[in-house]
Subunit: 122 residues, 4 copies
Amino acid sequence: MIIRIDELSDVPIYQQIRNQIVMGISDGTLAAGEQLPTVRALALEMGINTMTVSKAYQQLKMEGYIMTDRKNGARVRSNIEKQGNMSEGNKTELKRIVSEARLSGVPKQEIIKLVEKFYGGK
Amino acid sequence: MIIRIDELSDVPIYQQIRNQIVMGISDGTLAAGEQLPTVRALALEMGINTMTVSKAYQQLKMEGYIMTDRKNGARVRSNIEKQGNMSEGNKTELKRIVSEARLSGVPKQEIIKLVEKFYGGK
Amino acid sequence: MIIRIDELSDVPIYQQIRNQIVMGISDGTLAAGEQLPTVRALALEMGINTMTVSKAYQQLKMEGYIMTDRKNGARVRSNIEKQGNMSEGNKTELKRIVSEARLSGVPKQEIIKLVEKFYGGK
Amino acid sequence: MIIRIDELSDVPIYQQIRNQIVMGISDGTLAAGEQLPTVRALALEMGINTMTVSKAYQQLKMEGYIMTDRKNGARVRSNIEKQGNMSEGNKTELKRIVSEARLSGVPKQEIIKLVEKFYGGK
DNA sequence: GTGGTCTAGACCACG
DNA sequence: GTGGTCTAGACCACG
């Protein structure tokens, strides 16, 4: 899996890494049980600080997306907890995005198409 | 219009104000041409600094959502420019939200319903 | 002569009036010796405060573009002083505009064409 | 790069900083990718508040001229977006400048020479 | 009365 | 060490 940092973005690097791994798990780029690169390897590959990668992994672990053990490093969890609802923060954020899109003249169907694309046929 | 700040959020206060006004314009709580509270009044009401409110208003102004003049204060623009497409940042953010929702077991239809609700019947 | 206020502009109203009169004199819309509307009449017509119009006229008078007498009101001066050089402020402002245009990819010739258009064939 | 503030100017300090950096980028004083002084350093050097410098940098960032990250500070963007046209505000401002110059007796060719000088041979 | 600018100073997350 | 946020308070031009 290739992780790309948008250096123009205001989103912190560790968050961008975390987000891309979550999106990778959702869209199937990262399979359940799949091994993630080590903190060192990823940091080296991306030319960033190991602390930054570590922070991303720690958050992913805390959120239940990945698990780590000393032997095998980090792996995608196969049994991610399905709480069944969106966080309030994500709902608000979704409303913000939809509002901005609507005010920009983006048709409702176009947003829905994007949702379907991102969600996938699963 | 009532603006509520989530003090626990890591979204800066001025951004929260900005976001809520954008959402208010989109959902009709704030009508085109409507007066916004003065910088001082809103700051007093919310118990925050005028600079913070001012920053929100200036961003809204720069983005074309509102206009300000020294006589009348700030009001919602009646002719908000419609660029017709979502920003790359918002698309990525939408993908993140959809991915997280999907991994939490939220059905696709539930997200789409939210989009339709936020977009409105217009 | 029709004066239009851009209410989205950050340029103060009295400055906009002053600028448009200067541009009108330069492009011939306002002839030398021509009568300007009274402060009252212009304020009424534009729906603004007489103080604002008065401020514009006072500046124009101070700059030597117009002259006022009690009997005839304000008239365009027929002998505007030709100092022969641009103010430092205007040179800097010109450099800013040219710089922004250049960085936006506007060709040099396009700017020059605008200058020629605004200057006129005179 | 040396930034000089005109204390007599009615252009706000943060705008003057912003303008000089834009002009510096255009005329090559500031190269693509070049580091800008840190907010603190520039504020100290100029004897002004960090907020004022920060405001200039944030505007430059929003306009796409520079990028900032917390590690490296601010630097000139190497791929400034070229919209290809002048803003309406700049066109009006150019007309004002040309009009004033013409009424002062400045020959058209002198203005054009300035434009060519500011634009550079590129 | 209004928004806009600026200061001095503090605290914060990111890296 | 860096930019970003926020406060308390002051002053200003515009209208």
